[in-house]
Symmetry: C2
């Protein structure tokens, strides 16, 4: 319980920056670099060093004054906070172009996000055998499969008109987290979490910065 | 120039939240709602009302005390700040599953992000005619096409090992903004901007929130 209460004190913006830190730390670990300064880590992540020191101060003492952070301990702690020190069981609903790209994404697997089931309502796709022997099933099988395979996260890449209904089926089957790529706001029960991915937000950020350059 | 100096004062986190506000505002405008309270807007965006008031205070006087914000003026100002009141000319490099999904994304078009060229090095794809008569070209044509069509934003969905080289070709052809989906950090000249999209970051946020629920 001590760990839980510690977790709660970390502010949301810090949590959102942690994945940024974990990537360069993994590369440093692979390159056998034992210690990294806040300046170097900041440069690798594209944030300022004061921000790095402030963020990392929230969770324990990995800083060695004047030297830097111990790479492996820091990475371990970040992974534990982010829940990336374990595996998560995912299902995909919607095997169009985007769904296929996500299913084949090597980074998901590498970081412990494993697709164990795929659903699509297209009769031409149902029964198709994918990587790892996963067979595409009709969405009417969601409840049965989610419970059998103990699926924790649902990834929705259906057309927008179907996304809410699919989310509800997932929630009622016991999935408590949904990553939604359909361009709608998913309504969800209190006990569940939804993360929406909207590529136009990234384009808008880019266009804003580009307009400032001119 | 007055407008530019005004722009510079808006803090980065506020800018990053502006696209969140513009979506519900567009829906309200379509539904002919003239005024929206900070409470309603906050609920529609999933942020708290104090944050909405603080963010919107940065750019002009659209708040009517005790009533709310004028939907159409507020949306117009946000679009002008984000550069979404104009059209942007994009090219796509990499017509795999993800590239195809982005090319077909209806929200891009709706928000003024128009693909005018597509490149892929696969001989089976070169020459293929896509929507709007766009013909898939070999990446060696990038410089010529970017200059001819005055392309401003490059979207990279190539394998990671090719992404840096492609970015450099785009930059030297005159593209100053890159949206990168390849899982690498793109090195860029000072005069250019790069936005990286990494789906695992969204999954990690989701997993963190899910772990907190348990």
């Amino acid at each position: 319980m001590a760990k839980n209460s510690k977790k709660k004190k970390i502010p949301e913006p810090t949590i959102e920056r942690l994945p940024l830190y974990s990537r360069p730390l993994e590369e440093l670990l692979e390159a056998d670099v034992p210690v990294v300064s806040s300046e170097t880590l900041a440069k690798l992540c594209g944030v300022n060093p004061a921000q790095v020191r402030k963020d990392l101060a929230y969770f324990g003492e990995f800083g060695v004054r004047g030297v830097g952070y111990e790479v492996s301990s820091l990475l371990k702690e970040i992974k534990s906070i982010l829940g990336t020190d374990r595996k998560w069981r995912l299902c995909l609903v919607g095997l169009g172009n985007l769904g296929s790209a996500l299913f084949e994404n090597q980074n998901f697997k590498r970081r412990g996000y494993i697709f164990v089931a795929v659903f699509d309502s297209d009769p031409a796709k149902i029964g198709r055998i994918l990587e790892n022997g996963i067979v595409v099933e009709h969405p009417k099988k969601i409840e049965e499969v989610v419970q059998k395979l103990d699926i924790e996260i649902g990834v929705i890449t259906t057309p927008p008109l179907e996304a809410q209904r699919i989310a509800e089926v997932l929630f009622s089957a016991g999935v408590r987290a949904v990553l939604n790529f359909a361009p709608i706001q998913i309504r969800k029960p209190e006990c569940c979490v939804v993360e929406n991915v909207d590529f136009t937000v990234s384009l808008e950020n880019l266009a804003y910065h580009l307009a400032k350059l001119h």
